[in-house]
């Protein structure tokens, strides 16, 4: 670790490189500030940001008037535009809230009215016949639905990576593998952060620690809320299942608890989940036999043909619930400290609007940003099935035969894409990170075919890039 960089105070240190932290770092990169993005894990998006339902919400069902409602609505618009610019795959498939009993059907007009209060006036009630026409593989007993145009599926990995890449290209220092263990400093002076890889100094501090936001608050003596990890287990079905589902099929919330959703993914799969289990262990990202069995049972009711399809992946993510139906964002001017907490499940959708909101909170704390300047452009490699991918791109293959060499057969990922990811500005730390950047190993065989070959490519890159890397940022990346 080079000592010089650590001695210079940063104007802002953002702690936590999930989708929210990366968005905040990217927003700060528009200004002539010294900014560091510090993350305990060895990659960006390693917590809740990597294991969610991959939906870009409109915010139609948020509690009207809340911070969340406003930010999700604004974030949906901002991220939709940014995705087109940055190459993040989005498919605006729309959602259907499907009613399976009279009580649920009776609740639909109320949900439409709530959507209208949230500024969404395009929802529409569908009868059973029209619902079946629009979603022919739905199970028997569906009585009707509320159609919500604008609800979209998105690639959560590319989103986080696009923010991080643009931030890094625009001058933000990304410090991975650094857990902040203590925060000190004289009153009025800068924050001194002890981390697992040396100290950092920051004039302003942003807590984007997700599941650990309350614990980071505690490092500054702040006690505002407690995070309850809420586990969501999900199943991903193989590509042939994609033809069974046209929209995001949402459950109607009701007194009998929340149901699960069935949704397409931009990778051409189908997602089923999540469960909702309140836990105490913030690392309990395992699946359970009961959880998976329950999902399959509910999936069989929603789209019966799903049962016959192969499961590609099973995973669990933790949402940062705080016991309140809203975000917990706060500016503490005396501490020059901003907390972005309680981003329960809509962080991806709200991320860009949250970042703008945090700029405002930092201004409240006294941050003077200086004049705005354009960000370095970013264009991410496409991981979506609805957009051209290299294995089908004759020009790319002609340019570099590596794009014609498929290494992951299930997902049609080419050696060219793997090499590009390994050499990117925010490179993966391992094969999991490589999977999130390329889809390599994410398919039906889960890397059983390609993992050894990917490992060899990874090591080959490490060897050839080793010297260059050591010359640069002291290994922080």
């Amino acid at each position: 670790m080079s000592g010089g960089a650590a001695d210079d105070p940063y104007d802002v240190v953002v702690v936590g490189a999930g989708v929210v932290g990366c968005a905040v770092a990217r927003a700060l990169a528009r200004y002539p500030l010294r900014v560091a993005l510090v993350e305990a894990a060895d990659d960006v998006g390693e917590g809740s940001s990597k294991a969610n339902t991959a939906i870009l919400h409109t915010g139609f069902d948020a509690v009207p008037g809340t911070l969340e409602a406003g930010l999700v609505r604004a974030g949906h618009r901002l991220l939709g535009a940014y995705a087109a610019e940055a190459g993040i795959p989005v498919e605006p498939v729309g959602a259907l809230l499907v009613a399976w009993d009279e009580e649920q059907r009776a609740a639909l007009p109320g949900l439409a009215a709530k959507a209208a209060r949230n500024g969404h006036h395009t929802t529409r009630l569908l009868g059973a016949a029209e619902l079946r026409r629009r979603e022919p593989h739905l199970g028997p007993g569906a009585l009707g639905a509320l159609a919500v145009p604008g609800e979209s599926v998105i690639c959560p990995w590319t989103t986080t990576l696009a923010y991080a890449t643009q931030a890094v290209r625009s001058g933000v220092r990304l410090l991975l593998g650094r857990r902040v263990t203590a925060v000190s400093g004289a009153p009025g002076g800068p924050h001194r952060l002890s981390t697992t890889r040396g100290p950092l100094t920051a004039r302003f501090l942003v807590n984007a620690c997700g599941l650990y936001a309350d614990r980071f608050d505690a490092l500054l003596g702040v006690q505002d809320f407690a995070v309850t990890p809420r586990r969501g287990q999900l199943l991903v079905y193989d590509k042939p299942a994609r033809a069974l589902v046209r929209h995001i099929l949402l459950p109607v919330p009701g007194p009998l608890g929340k149901g699960v959703l069935v949704a397409p993914t931009v990778y051409g799969n189908v997602l089923l989940g999540p469960t909702a289990e309140d836990l105490t262990d913030r690392t309990a990202t395992g699946t359970t036999a009961e959880g998976l069995a329950g999902l399959r049972e509910q999936g069989a009711r929603i789209v019966p043909a799903l049962v016959g399809e192969e499961v590609t992946a099973a995973y669990a993510g933790l949402r940062a619930a705080t016991g309140r139906e809203d975000y917990r964002c706060a500016a503490r001017p005396a501490l020059r400290y901003v907390t972005v907490g309680g981003i329960r499940s809509t962080g991806l959708s709200a991320s860009l609007a949250l970042a703008e909101h945090v700029l405002g909170l930092l201004a409240e704390c006294g941050l003077r940003t200086g004049p705005e300047r354009p960000l370095a452009p970013v264009r991410m490699p496409n991981l979506g099935e609805a957009f051209p991918r290299p294995y089908r791109d004759a020009a790319a293959v002609a340019r570099d035969p590596g794009f014609g060499t498929v290494v992951c057969h299930c997902e049609h990922v080419t050696r060219g894409e793997v090499r590009a990811a390994l050499a990117s500005d925010v490179p993966p730390a391992g094969l999991d990170g490589l999977r999130r950047r390329t889809r390599a190993g994410a398919g039906r065989c889960q890397g059983g075919h390609c993992r050894p070959a990917l490992q060899a490519l990874f090591e080959e890159h490490r060897r050839s890039a080793g010297r260059r890397r050591y010359g640069k940022d002291g290994g922080a990346r």
């Binding site: 499961v311 995973y315 099935e385 051209p388 089908r392 014609g404 065989c445 889960q446 050894p452 060899a456």
Partner: protein, 412 residues
């Protein structure tokens, strides 16, 4: 298939027969077709080397060469490749078939470019794969150290038999012959095998002194980052934990049917390979299927025999007459059967191949049509879940071609 990119310019080409997959079935089909003068016969293989899964099975059990010396998988695969090439087939490796541009036109991606290859007949021989952990619905934490036997083989093939590439203490799940092969491969690589866990009633595994837990299932994996142990449950229902940093999952084969399904081919119930008749014709005239795609986990010799059989059907198709799709009486299963092959009985008498969902002791097999018994018998003392049973074609004469489905029932 859904997206047609504007940059997608494919070179168009035509051949007589296109075989997808250079495993034992595809190579045997190509060898026979080329030798019979079927014209340009081309085998497309996505891997850098031809030979299929046999290529990775560095153990005997693949018959013998001409001088009677036992063959291992790579030896067998090499011989199959040479036979196909010598017969005049073109075997192209590193070529991925990614979709269909028409009923008999396949889209390919290779370092040399994109092509749309038209054929007079297509043979799908894409093989089978072992189910990965999620498809087995094996819950627990997401950890490194859980792999299929195929991945174990690939790891050893690429990096050599080195424990630092695999682990220190392994549990092998499964009771087929693959479990025994995995045990030996792990030991050769210097990995201690602490247990073989099998769901069957008897230890069919030659595990060489390794404790075999019969009638036992792996129910959960534990650990953070790296596998730390597996929870197992035996017949007594009592769960216990076996410490290990490596879990090798064997068996549980499923067809690699993505291409077949992308082409809209209907599937056989149970087996989930494309539905074929006794002549190995699929629902699309001119498209045939053979080998592991129809019934995975079978010996290479059986796949090769089917490759030779499909060649006969392809030659008939190329010889003229109206192209015909699969036809015949639907064959259905009843009782604990994983699959029956072929799914359509016709046009000529053909033996049935079937596999049980779990190991059966003295199973009673009954074949009925419209309630009428066509065949009844106890074909085996023990029918292990991993071994298929061949039912010869004699009884099929009794089936009424105009009647209802033929139902194969099995019970203990």
């Amino acid at each position: 298939m859904r997206h047609e990119g504007t940059r997608e310019e494919r070179a168009a080409r035509a051949v007589d027969v296109l075989v997808v997959g250079a495993g034992p079935a595809g190579l045997a089909a190509a060898a026979r077709l080329a030798a019979a003068g079927a014209g340009r016969v081309e085998v497309l293989e996505r891997e850098p080397e031809a030979g299929g899964a046999a290529r990775l099975c560095a153990h005997p059990g693949f018959g013998a060469d001409r001088r009677g010396r036992p063959l291992d998988g790579p030896g067998y695969a090499g011989r199959a490749v040479r036979a196909a090439v010598r017969a005049g087939a073109a075997v192209r490796t590193g070529v991925s078939v990614t979709g269909w541009a028409g009923p008999l036109v396949l889209e390919t991606t290779a370092p040399t470019g994109l092509e749309a290859v038209r054929a007079r007949a297509v043979v799908l021989a894409t093989g089978a794969r072992e189910r990965a952990r999620p498809a087995r619905l094996l819950p627990g934490t997401r950890v490194r150290g859980v792999l299929t036997a195929g991945e174990l083989q690939r790891t050893v093939a690429l990096f050599g038999p080195r424990p630092e590439r695999i682990g220190q203490r392994a549990v092998v799940a499964g009771d087929g012959p693959e479990a025994g092969h995995a045990v030996r491969l792990l030991r050769r690589a210097g990995v201690a095998v602490v247990a073989v866990v099998g769901e069957g009633p008897r230890a069919a595994v030659r595990a060489g002194g390794v404790p075999v837990l019969a009638e036992t299932a792996v129910t959960e994996v534990t650990g953070r980052g790296r596998l730390a142990g597996v929870a197992v449950r035996g017949r007594d229902g009592r769960p216990r934990t076996v410490g290990c940093d490596t879990l090798v999952l064997t068996g549980d084969w499923v067809p690699e049917h993505a291409l077949a399904r992308a082409g809209g081919l209907p599937l056989a119930p149970g087996g989930r390979g494309p539905l074929v008749d006794g002549a190995l014709r699929t629902a699309v005239p001119g498209v045939f299927a053979a080998g592991g795609l129809l019934h995975g986990g079978e010996p290479a010799a059986r796949a090769a025999a089917e490759g030779r059989a499909v060649a006969t059907a392809v030659l008939a198709h190329l010889g003229g007459g109206a192209p015909r799709a699969a036809e015949g009486l639907p064959v259905e299963t009843s009782g604990p059967l994983r699959w029956v092959h072929p799914g359509l009985l016709g046009p000529a008498p053909a033996p049935l191949l079937l596999q049980a969902e779990h190991t059966l002791v003295r199973p009673l097999l009954t074949v009925r049509q419209d309630g009428r018994v066509l065949h009844r018998g106890r074909p085996a003392g023990v029918l292990p879940a991993w071994r298929s049973l061949r039912l010869d074609a004699r009884w099929t004469r009794g089936a009424d071609p105009g009647g209802g489905p033929v139902v194969v029932d099995v019970r203990e």
